[in-house]
């Protein structure tokens, strides 16, 4: 073989090898990631529709309050609806134990604290992302459109900080979108006053830029901002401003209490008060003039979700011989939570809110086998009595009764529900008036609410803080974030001790504020994150 032929062969082989190499070297962008299936902040928040999608998630965050922390279990609202003067844990699972038996059960490693904290800061981060990115000048929208989006996001942020401060007192105040390159381990708890100042600023911005009403009250309006401002000013001990904000809602002319029967069951026996909770009556476009904010669920729609209010509040009457699950008996509940005996006894005769239309006071025998001495169709009457664990005969509210017509014993619940009602705005107004010693004004305001329920009218001499709190319980039983109301009025410890037959003796002053989740303390290795006293 000649040198030349070796060379020719060598160059052929080299060319082949080079071609093979070239075939596999796929250009400089071979290693660049461009995922076609993933939404990232940089490609979502580029137009108004992207921001609307961001806001939709915030609505879904709020809706979680009436959903389970763990599938269909652990009602997210539990920390603020039981362990108070008017609510208790009728069946003890882990999380009910925390707010019923207290003591050693209420500690920093309970999931309920971690879950609630994480939920709130997840909401805040989602809101901050919208607020920060709405400042981008490249987005094609009007200043009004932009400010409405920012206003909604800021209202959600205030909503979350409100729950955080009531749960834990001073908490870290975060106003910027979290970023992967700046992970902090040195968070500091901001004084409650600082957090509230930020909430005030956020809510005032929302008030200025949100529409006066929205078509079905499922979206945020100016009235919602004003309602929360009224409550915030009461908490900040500024009752005159609270009064002004409450009156702004009441006098806007856009909302009225439901005083007449209406809607899907208008021709059947009932009371006006309860009509607004019936599926088909809840939204503004269904005739409800009272709701400022309605939470939305929908069966068989993506994003429809489901709530567990009936599951948690309706009792386990089917454990009683002769009773089976039915729509008449209220649907399937597991009776984890119940109103206290004291709350059930608060109603005078004739008060619609304490009637059998509002409180479950009887069941109809309907099971395959009926215990001897009774007939199918007989009525089993319930009465209030001292709280004792796992009592399936305990009366409860009917506000959350709902059944799936296709599956009476089904668990999930898809009905829309009022979240903030004008009646509560009246009660905030009465509290503001009381705080300014306008007892006559307060009595008149309370009477607006009482008159609708056909309760007797009161006069100025009847008005005390205790009366206002009692009235709130009568009106808002199981709807209200009761613990927060009692903390705002510095009455949680005394009233829970006095009126909660199950937990009253078990609470201590420590329990007025919850333990910071241990995970938050453990992750904060760069600075001390002091635990609340006593934990």
């Amino acid at each position: 073989m000649t040198t030349a032929s070796i060379f020719r062969r060598a160059s052929t082989v080299a060319a082949l090898a080079a071609a093979a190499l070239a075939a596999t070297a796929c250009g400089s962008d071979f290693l660049v990631e461009d995922p076609p299936d993933i939404i990232v902040a940089d490609n979502l928040y580029t137009d108004p529709a992207g921001f609307e999608a961001g806001l939709n998630a915030l609505y879904a965050e709020v809706r979680r309050e009436r959903e389970g922390r763990s599938g269909n279990n652990e009602l997210s609202a539990e920390p603020w609806v039981i362990g108070v003067d008017n609510g208790w844990g009728n069946f003890i699972s882990t999380s009910e134990r925390v707010f019923t038996e207290w003591g050693a059960n209420t500690h920093s490693q309970q999931d309920v604290f971690y879950d609630t904290w994480t939920w709130m800061y997840q909401t805040i981060n989602a809101a901050n992302t919208i607020i920060n990115r709405a400042a981008n000048p490249d987005i094609a929208w009007t200043p009004e459109e932009r400010d409405r989006v920012i206003g909604e996001a800021r209202l959600f942020r205030a909503w979350a900080y409100r729950i955080l401060t009531y749960m834990w007192g001073p908490v870290p105040l975060v106003l910027e979108e979290s970023n992967g390159t700046t992970i902090r381990t040195d968070w500091e708890r901001a004084p409650v006053a600082d957090v509230r100042a930020q909430m005030e600023e956020d809510l005032l911005f929302a008030e200025a830029h949100l529409p006066e009403v929205t078509t079905d009250a499922s979206r945020l309006s100016k009235a919602v901002a004003q309602h929360y401002l009224a409550e915030l000013y009461l908490a900040m001990d500024r009752p005159a401003e609270a009064q002004a904000k409450a009156e702004a809602v009441i006098n806007s002319g856009k909302y009225q209490l439901i005083t007449e029967r209406y809607g899907v069951q208008a021709t059947q026996p009932g009371v006006p008060f309860m009509d607004q909770f019936l599926d088909g009556n809840v939204n503004r476009d269904e005739g409800n003039t009272e709701a400022l904010w309605v939470l939305q669920w929908e069966q068989n729609v993506a994003g429809g979700g489901s709530n567990i209010m009936r599951r948690y509040w309706t009792n386990r009457y089917y454990n009683i011989r002769g009773l089976a699950v039915s729509a008449e008996n209220g649907g399937r509940g597991i009776g984890r939570l119940a109103p206290t005996q004291w709350a059930l006894d608060l109603y005078e005769p004739g008060d619609d809110r304490g009637s059998a239309f509002a409180i479950r006071k009887y069941y109809i025998y309907n099971a395959a086998t009926i215990p001897s001495g009774h007939e199918r169709g007989d009525t089993l009457w319930l009465t209030s009595h001292p709280e004792e664990a796992s009592d399936e005969t305990f009366p409860t509210t009917r506000k959350w009764e709902w059944v799936d017509p296709l599956n009476v014993s089904g668990d999930p619940q898809y009905n829309d529900q009022p979240y903030i009602r004008l009646a509560e705005t009246y009660l905030l107004l009465a509290e503001a008036q009381f705080r300014q010693n306008d007892l006559a004004g307060a009595a008149a305001t309370l009477n607006v609410v009482r008159r609708r329920a056909h309760a007797s009218e009161i006069d100025a001499g009847d008005v005390t803080l205790a009366f206002i709190l009692d009235e709130r319980s009568r009106e808002l039983l199981t709807e209200e974030q009761r613990r927060f109301t009692l903390l705002r009025t510095h009455t949680w410890y005394d009233r829970t001790r006095a009126f909660n037959g199950r937990s009253g003796a078990l609470i201590t002053p420590r329990d007025t504020i919850f333990p910071i989740p241990q995970a938050v303390i453990d992750a904060n290795i760069g600075a001390p994150m002091p635990q609340n006293p006593g934990y």
Binding site: C26, P35, A104, Q109
Partner: protein
């Protein structure tokens, strides 16, 4: 054999024919060159590195990794002499033949001599890294569904754990401890040279010729960024020249549940429930009914209780049949194999069927050009949904599984509809099929103008398609709530690898040089489409009616990862005494940040065959080799797209319309890069007593830094974790493997193969500031995985000074926590500590093999010692308030029975919810196999070249203190461990 098995076998036969037809064997061309193959008599495995010489001549060569050789001879009437240490020498008269098959018989125990090292093979004597080779006989005659099961107890430093049981068990492999905290610790698997991401259970173990495990960085560094967890190299069988050989291997067997913990029966449950409700005080018989709900009382009276686990399980069956044809001539080698595996597990509906078809073929086209393929088609069928074992373990026995008409109840406990029927999966319609073509192909060019230079192009494809269909009708809880639910899921994988390899070898006389250079690119793409549909008019059309659904929720995703790599390796050996290997690899990975796409991984290794020195004394120690290596390897096991901040779906509704919503869910990290492991390894290979005892000792230390940590961060960020490169861990360990002939007495021999390994794992650094991370339970100076919590200090007894203790609220019968710092209170900050070790103090395996004439009996013992784990079976909250779940039979504290080991049977005994820990060490007789090889004289009379019958048992006995399903299994309320017995036959002609 059942009718369906016959049909399956028929289908298999059809496939074999279809694939065999195009296998055209090229015609022979007469030449003065002799080609041949050397195989081992009993296993038919190739004999590598055998010396082949012309008798009374000078021409000589060695067989390659396939046992093949090519030798230029003076005449086709010469006689070849084939020799090999450990084998009897054979003389083969050519008698005019240019292709021969030489069969050798072993004389003594051997470590396998030729080693697959990645991008090539090496003689065992030349290896400088720590590489364990697993004898192919470990793959034989066992009920393995996956080839990695053959690694269990086989080699030191490779920990194989059956983490979940079932028809297709989940097998975890951990090589030399945990190098990574949150990134994967799975080794890289390379099948016939191509990285393989699929489950190894989708490859027929009977097609495997050898398994080699690269353990240290010098060996694994050639796989660079994917090497730090070790590498398993799987090599499939190849044909041998000569007469076509057809072989069959098949077994059938059954399996039974073993180690099932004793769960409460109906009576026991009723008593425990009553005691619990009665605040821990034992009930009188007439109190018990009051504690039960009406339906519980009815079940207790009617049937005494339901054995839910009994209803969810059965006797399992399994069978496997493999048929293969292999052969070839001097230019063509082929292996064609088909197999059928049919496993029915001990859980009802837990089935795993696998059909494989493999064609391995090599073709010499020109003296300088050859090509080949190793291709497997596999269909795996995992259809069928088993019962929910977690629910079945927890299910109240006083509940009804069936309605009066024999259908499953939807809510077995009418008063507590939290509980679905654990058996509802048995009523679901489920289809789960995977088809996979995995093919590794090469083209090799010898460049004759530069002696020893060759170019090889490897192309690998993994094309897989999975199809899952499931329907829950109205007889299931899931279906009844939504009027039927159909879940459809399709995924498609398309992975390719292209490797360009240049290799240069040169023999300088006393020294040898071997240089390998690689340029490769890889891409992996997985596309997924899913659809969930619910709300149907009826159940008749199962998952074929999405068009009528009330709600349709489609889902689609794509995951893509890509790599670009260059690698160079130099092996140099001098006089068979001094060895040096140097490698460097550069990898680029798409999943890392723009500034950190590439990493470089060098390594250097030295070897010294001390016993080849002239001065080496003759004596007890016949051979000694010392190896020393140091190198870097990486772990890129982080999912794609981690550098990007991502949002998650969180939709809402406007009226009855869906309102799409998104919220931030993941914090991206643009600086992500790989974990880097620096590994130092010192190894000794030795043989004593004329090779009767051989062994390997390795000592190593690995420090892995820039760990890819899914670090839990303060929830204040609104997101609770982020992937970062932080911290470092260290692994130190020692491994010893001893192989010896214990007894050698004529017909009777006894061989023992023992290995033991210990590894100490330690976090060296986390965030650079010396701080522990209590939230993640990562502590500097401790292993990555720890038991961390309060310390069990017995039970509070009556008469104890409770009021003056750290638990003033406690009552007798509660758990006493140890007040570690003695400050008079129990707090999370100061009273939690480390409890035992989750890392074994050592693991060991022992295989004993007895041979007597044609009989062989082998037994494998494995053990894991020194492990403490929390035992969920003993958790104090397992019964739930009001006893809504059941549990194991156990004793409880009562005033009359004041034990100090377990609290009272009531709520509130363990307010800090500490787990109960137990020693999870065990010794297991894992496999026992008895086989009989037909006497050659007898088999030839039957017209077969070899025949074997065998029986084998798995999980025959386990010794442990653990109360629960099994100390080896992760989840304790899962498919139980089973004992499998098989009987099989193998023959070839």
């Amino acid at each position: 054999m059942s009718g369906s098995s016959v049909r399956r076998a028929g289908r298999l036969g059809a496939w074999l024919l279809a694939l065999a037809a195009p296998t055209v064997l090229l015609a022979q061309q007469p030449t003065a060159v002799v080609r041949g193959t050397v195989t081992e008599q009993s296993s038919n495995a190739p004999v590598v590195a055998a010396n082949v010489a012309v008798k009374n001549g000078s021409a000589r060569t060695q067989t390659d990794e396939r046992g093949e050789f090519t030798l230029r001879v003076g005449s086709l009437n010469d006689t070849l002499v084939v020799s090999r240490i450990g084998f009897q020498q054979v003389e083969v008269p050519l008698a005019g033949r240019s292709a021969v098959t030489v069969v050798m018989t072993r004389t003594a125990v051997q470590l396998s001599e030729m080693v697959v090292v990645g991008y090539g093979t090496q003689r065992r004597e030349d290896v400088t890294g720590s590489i364990a080779s697993v004898d192919s006989t470990r793959l034989q005659d066992k009920p393995n569904t996956s080839v990695v099961q053959a690694l269990q107890g086989a080699t030191a430093g490779v920990t194989v754990t059956t983490s979940s049981s079932g028809a297709e068990p989940t097998i975890d492999v951990l090589i030399r401890g945990r190098n990574s905290i949150t990134a994967s610790t799975d080794p890289l698997v390379v099948v016939d040279g191509i990285p393989y991401d699929g489950p190894l259970s989708e490859i027929n173990p009977n097609d495997i010729a050898s398994l080699d495990v690269l353990k240290d960085a010098s060996a694994a560094a050639i796989y660079g960024s994917r090497g730090s967890n070790g590498v398993i190299l799987v090599t499939t069988k190849r044909g041998t020249p000569g007469k076509p050989r057809m072989s069959y291997d098949g077994y059938v067997g059954t399996s039974e549940i073993v180690n099932l913990p004793r769960m409460m029966n109906g009576q026991e449950f009723a008593a425990v429930k009553c005691q619990h409700i009665n605040d821990g005080v034992t009930c009188t018989p007439d109190q018990i009914p009051e504690a039960l709900t009406p339906s519980e009382q009815e079940v207790l009276a009617a049937t005494g209780g339901t054995d839910w686990l009994g209803l969810a399980t059965r006797t399992g069956h399994q069978q496997q049949h493999t048929l293969s044809v292999s052969g070839g001539d001097e230019n063509t080698r082929y292996y064609l194999g088909g197999s059928l595996l049919d496993v029915s597990g001990v859980a009802l509906n837990d089935d795993f069927d696998r059909y494989t078809l493999r064609l391995n073929m090599t073709q010499q086209i020109r003296p300088w050009l050859s090509l080949g393929t190793n291709t497997q088609f596999a269909r795996t069928d995992r259809s069928g949904l088993r019962a929910d074992f977690s629910d079945a373990f927890f299910m109240n026995p006083l509940t009804r599984p069936y309605n009066d008409d024999g259908t499953l109840t939807i809510y077995p406990w009418p008063e507590d509809i939290f509980w679905n029927n654990p058996l509802q999966g048995l009523d679901a319609v489920d289809r789960d099929i995977n088809d996979r073509v995995f093919t590794s192909n090469y083209l090799e060019v010898d460049l004759p103008f530069v002696e020893g230079l060759s170019y090889r192009l490897n192309g690998g494809l993994d094309n897989a398609r999975g199809e899952s269909r499931r329907y829950y009708g109205r007889t299931t809880q899931i279906g009844s709530e939504v009027q039927g639910r159909a879940i459809l899921d399709d995924d498609r994988r398309f992975d390719w690898t292209v490797e360009n390899i240049l290799r240069y070898t040169h023999d300088f006389g006393r020294s040898d040089l071997d240089v390998t250079a690689l340029f490769s690119s890889q891409s992996s793409t997985v596309e997924n489409d899913g659809l969930t549909a619910q709300g149907f008019p009826n159940d008749v059309l199962t998952y074929y009616q999405a068009n009528t659904a009330a709600l349709l929720e489609p889902e689609a995703s794509q995951t893509r990862r890509r790599m670009l790599s260059q690698m160079a390796r130099v092996n140099y050996s001098f006089d068979d005494r001094y060895l040096i290997t140097g490698t460097v690899r550069r990898d680029g990975y798409s999943g890392f940040g723009a500034n950190n796409k590439y990493g470089v991984f060098p390594s250097l290794a030295l070897g010294w065959n001390a016993s080849n020195e002239a001065w080496w004394p003759t004596g007890a120690v016949n051979s000694l080799k010392v190896r020393l290596s140091y190198g870097l390897s990486g772990n890129q096991a982080v999912s794609p797209y981690r550098t990007l901040s991502r949002l998650t779906d969180m939709p809402y509704v406007n009226g009855s319309n869906s309102a799409p919503g998104y919220r931030p869910s993941t914090l991206g990290n643009p600086n992500l890069k790989w974990e880097t492991s620096r590994n130092l390894n010192l190894g000794f290979d030795f043989g004593v007593l004329d090779g009767r005892l051989r062994g390997t000792l390795d000592l190593y230390q690995t420090r892995t830094s820039d760990l890819l940590l899914a670090r839990a961060i303060s929830p204040v960020h609104g997101i609770t974790s982020i992937t970062q490169n932080i911290g470092a861990v260290k692994n130190r360990g020692a491994e010893l493997q001893l192989i010896g002939r214990v007894l050698d007495r004529g017909d009777l021999t006894w061989d023992a193969d023992f290995n033991i390994a210990m590894n100490r794992n330690e976090i060296v650094d986390l965030y650079g500031n010396g701080e522990d991370d209590v939230l993640n339970e990562w502590f500097i100076g401790q292993p990555i995985e720890v038991n961390y919590g309060y310390v069990f200090d017995g039970i509070w007894q009556e008469g104890d000074d409770i009021a003056g203790s750290a638990q003033p609220d406690a009552t007798p019968g509660d758990i006493r926590y140890r007040d570690l710092n003695g400050d008079g209170k129990i707090s999370a900050d100061s009273d939690r500590t480390f409890i035992g070790s989750l890392e074994p103090s050592y693991t060991a395996g022992l295989t004993n093999t007895l041979r007597w004439r044609q009989f062989q009996l082998s037994a494998l013992l494995t053990t894991v010692q020194g492990v403490t784990r929390s035992n969920s079976m003993l958790a104090t909250n397992q019964l739930f308030p009001e006893v809504r779940r059941t549990g194991v039979v156990r004793e409880y504290w009562t005033p009359e029975h004041p034990i100090d080991t377990y609290p009272a049977n009531r709520e509130g005994v363990n307010p800090l919810a500490m787990p109960i820990y137990q020693d999870a060490s065990y010794v297991r007789l894992r496999d026992v196999t008895l086989s009989y090889n037909l006497d050659p004289s007898l088999s030839s009379r039957l017209g077969v070249s070899s025949a074997r019958v065998y029986v084998s048992g798995r999980n025959l006995a386990t010794w442990t203190d653990w109360i629960g399903l099994d100390p080896e299994l992760g989840e304790q309320r899962a498919v139980p461990q089973s004992r499998t017995l098989i009987g099989g036959v193998a023959f070839a002609f």
